[in-house]
């Protein structure tokens, strides 16, 4: 009995070794760069982390195919290097000693990539599944391009400046015109008042009723001739 058990275990181990090796069918290589991602907060890659990895892959397979048959023991890891890189393969417990097709595994990983990344605090670049491409997220496009808004602001300022200068130019010109016409009017007014002296029109002074004062009479030249 014990011998049979040992024999089965031996066969399973060999089979597992056969299933998981570099470039095996349906096997994927994983490359992890913890120090690049986390710097000083980097954790060491040990057996516990490997256990978590197997759990995440099993979780991904379960979510994808929504049948709860995949166990952690179905995920086989091998060839772990110092880089940290390794190969893994997912076995199918319902069929004897076969691996789940690579396309299924790929689809499952793709669907749950975010969850797997965040379990290890890594990103698509630092937790690489070689041969599985990641979909690139589209850039966030605002409804109006940002540059158009800035352009609108700049243009409004410029137009306001031009309008201000043009209007002030027109006002200055109007004032200058008004000033020159006012000056003309003022000159006319001055000529009009000249003819009124102390409320008495000059023509009235010509009458003999007044007495011509010699001091003032000599100053006739003071007034400009009309």
């Amino acid at each position: 009995m014990l011998r049979a058990l040992l024999l089965t275990l031996f066969v399973v181990a060999i089979a597992h070794a056969e299933l998981c090796k570099p470039d095996a069918q349906n096997a994927f290589k994983v490359r992890i760069s913890i120090k690049t991602a986390l710097g000083d907060n980097a954790y060491a890659w040990d057996a516990n982390e490997e256990y978590l990895f197997k759990a995440m892959v099993a979780f991904a397979m379960r979510r994808y195919s929504s049948k709860s048959t995949t166990q952690i023991s179905n995920v086989l890891l091998c060839n772990v290097t110092d880089r940290v890189s390794f190969w893994f393969v997912v076995t199918d417990s319902s069929k004897n000693v076969t691996t789940v097709p690579g396309s299924e595994v790929e689809a499952a990983i793709r669907m749950n990539r975010n969850r797997i990344n965040s379990a290890f605090l890594l990103s698509d670049k630092t937790l690489q599944f070689l041969k599985i491409t990641s979909t690139l997220s589209p850039p966030v496009e605002p409804s109006t391009p940002a540059w158009l808004i800035v352009f609108g602001v700049v243009l409004c300022l410029i137009v306001a400046g031009i309008a201000f200068l043009v209007v002030s130019g027109i006002q200055k010109r109007k004032k200058k015109n008004k000033e020159s016409t006012e000056r003309e009017n003022l000159e006319e007014k001055v000529e009009v008042t000249v003819t009124l002296e102390n409320g008495i029109p000059c023509e009235a002074l010509d009458l003999k009723s007044g007495h011509i004062n010699g001091v003032f009479a000599a100053d006739d030249e003071r007034f400009t001739s009309l």
Partner: protein, 611 residues
């Protein structure tokens, strides 16, 4: 009661608010985009610090004398370029017209360069900067092919900004975003030049001083970047062997000449608004020295940033190689660092040579990255923008950089527009009652409509043509005739008396010798050498063609014959004005001399104009 005082004749002409405004306007006109993106490049390719020797010799014997000549001329005659030369002698009127035509042609394309700067400026308010990432392709599996094969900055410049066509004969369509920016640029130019020097005089305080502030900020930031010292050492290490190459001397002479914006008529216009008794000699020396010092000062931050960019590219190259090696040999992370890279490589090469060869590692050489020199728009819109992405807080640096470029270009535009505006005002083609605002508006509107051609797909090729042919050879011709005209036709003795009346000092020997012999001779030699060099090979250009097999290298193409004809026309049109007008007046004089009632015009004198 007395009427308002009689307005004296001098007050009719607009005046500078103060001397500082005038000096600042001349400095702003001279200091332009070339000081930032042409001088550092020339320094780099012509042996670093050694280039300063021919540069300062050219400044002393060509730059300062010609500058003094133009400023003294404008101040004495108190007219724009066309009026001034007509006054000196009707035979020389062609010089003024030639200057005016060059100013028109240069204004047209110069503002389009400012349009590109404005486009980059308004795109700098985004996170991430649009020239830092490639857009995705249609099915979102990877990046856009053209962008992926070249770089994101190249893609943004050639595709998103210019939308360039692969050939100059393919005009493409008008790019609406460039039209918007062009309208904004011309609106800004209109805003600042709306009433001539009344408004530019106020605007120049900002546009001439702001670039110095930004250059200082970039200087401080640049010097703190890693690799900055490598760039500076590379720039300034003198290599005296390059001085044996005559090309270096030619480049120094042309750089000084074009950098000071001589022969545009703008400087004559600026100094014509001065009070007649002003020390133009000191002004000329001041402006020339400030211009050269600015070039030197600008090259320090430019080369710090370029050194930083080269160092970062070198580190990226090393890092990529290190990752390939670590992945291939499954070595632990951070086992190979940049410092021990070379020792590791030699170790692995000796033990696993086939594996190393299979990796196809690129050789990383810092000198090679530093050697990649670019000038002109390539420096600003490709190399510098790439460096800005690598700096922390890139949006702020991008915004500052592009505002600085815009101010530099705008203050030069003021000079160009003044060179167009002032002669038109004096030609009396418009009546005195039309407001200045209307005239400047019409000039800006017409220029905007013509400049729409430059917003086509092939626009940047045309701007290169205008820059190479309209903005180079005619200026040399006009400057040569300027010196000959003043020294030998107006007679230098008369001019010396005028300058003495204006500055209060007699012209010393330096001015006499340079004006009489050295400057005209130098201009002649430079002109001959320049034309010979252009004629040596058929004029060609490099085109951005995504379908070219050597892409992302640019494809070298030859101009078709009709384009070559336009090049010749652009160079010949302003230059041929000078002999044509002289011929015209000669014929008129011959006809008049047969007429006995003709009276010879009185001899003109500087002092006589102002009494």
């Amino acid at each position: 009661l007395s009427a308002a005082a009689e307005i004296p004749k001098e007050d009719d002409r607009p005046k500078w608010d103060n001397k500082f405004q005038y000096i600042l306007s001349c400095i702003g006109f001279a200091v332009g985009l070339g000081n930032v993106w042409r001088f550092p490049y020339l320094c780099q390719i012509h042996g670093g610090g050694a280039f300063l020797i021919p540069y300062f010799i050219a400044l002393l014997f060509e730059g300062i004398p010609l500058l003094h000549l133009e400023l003294a001329l404008g101040q004495c005659l108190r007219k724009g370029s066309i009026g001034a030369w007509n006054t000196i002698s009707p035979y020389l009127g062609g010089i003024g017209i030639g200057s005016w035509v060059v100013s028109v042609l240069v204004s047209l394309y110069y503002n389009t360069v400012l349009t590109w700067v404005m486009w980059y400026f308004i795109n700098s308010f985004q996170e991430p900067l649009p020239w830092s990432v490639c857009p995705l392709n249609e099915n979102r599996t990877g990046f856009n092919k053209e962008c992926h094969e070249s770089t994101a900055v190249n893609y943004f410049w050639y595709r998103k900004t210019l939308n360039i066509t692969p050939d100059i004969t393919e005009s493409g369509t008008l790019q609406w975003w460039l039209i918007l920016c062009l309208a904004a640029s011309w609106a800004i130019v209109y805003l600042c030049t709306i009433r001539g020097i009344e408004t530019t005089g106020k605007a120049i305080y900002v546009t001439a001083i702001f670039p110095y502030l930004v250059l200082t900020i970039f200087l401080i930031q640049g010097l703190t970047l890693p690799g900055a010292t490598d760039g500076l050492i590379y720039l300034f290490t003198p290599n005296l062997n390059t001085l044996k190459n005559p090309r270096v001397w030619l480049d120094a002479a042309t750089q000084i000449f074009f950098s000071l914006s001589l022969a545009f008529g703008g400087l004559i216009a600026f100094s014509s608004y001065n009070p007649p008794k002003n020390d133009c000699e000191k002004d000329a020396v001041t402006v020339a020295i400030v211009n050269s010092m600015t070039s030197l000062y600008a090259s320090i931050p430019v080369f710090s940033v370029l050194g930083f960019k080269a160092t970062t590219a070198y580190w990226d190259c090393l890092d990529r190689n290190i990752i390939s090696i670590i992945n291939e040999f499954d070595l632990p992370e951070e086992s190979i660092m940049r410092e021990n890279y070379t020792s590791w490589i030699s170790l692995l090469n000796s033990s696993y040579p086939e594996k190393i060869a299979g990796l196809k590692l690129k050789s990383c050489d810092l000198q090679e990255f530093l050697d990649q020199s670019v000038s002109g728009t390539g420096l600003a819109f490709i190399v510098f923008t790439q460096a800005i992405i690598l700096m922390p807080g890139s949006q702020a640096w991008a915004i500052l950089f592009f505002i600085m470029l815009f101010s530099l270009g705008l203050s030069s535009m003021f000079g160009n527009i003044e060179g167009v505006f002032t002669p038109l005002l004096e030609l009396q083609i418009v009546s005195k009652s039309t407001p200045k605002e209307l005239l400047s508006g019409i000039i800006c509107l017409i220029s905007f409509s013509i400049a729409l051609c430059f917003t086509l797909g092939s626009g940047s090729y045309w701007i290169d043509i205008f820059d190479r042919y309209a903005g180079s050879v005619p200026l040399l011709v006009i400057a040569f005739f300027e010196v000959i005209g003043v020294v030998y036709i107006y007679k230098i003795k008369r001019f010396s008396k005028d300058v003495k009346w204006m500055t209060g000092r007699k012209l010393n020997l330096y001015w006499q010798i340079t004006w009489r012999f050295i400057s005209p001779l130098l201009l002649l030699i430079v002109f001959m050498a320049f034309v010979t060099l252009q004629m040596q090979k058929p004029p060609s250009y490099t085109a951005w063609n995504p379908k070219y097999e050597g892409f992302p290298m640019k494809e070298e193409k030859v101009y078709p014959p009709w384009v070559q004809a336009i090049c010749v026309l652009l160079a010949a049109l302003p230059s041929v004005c000078v002999p044509l007008v002289a011929l015209f007046h000669l014929i008129k004089q011959k006809r008049r001399s047969k007429d006995p009632s003709f009276v010879t015009p009185e001899v003109f004198s500087c002092q006589g104009a102002n009494s």
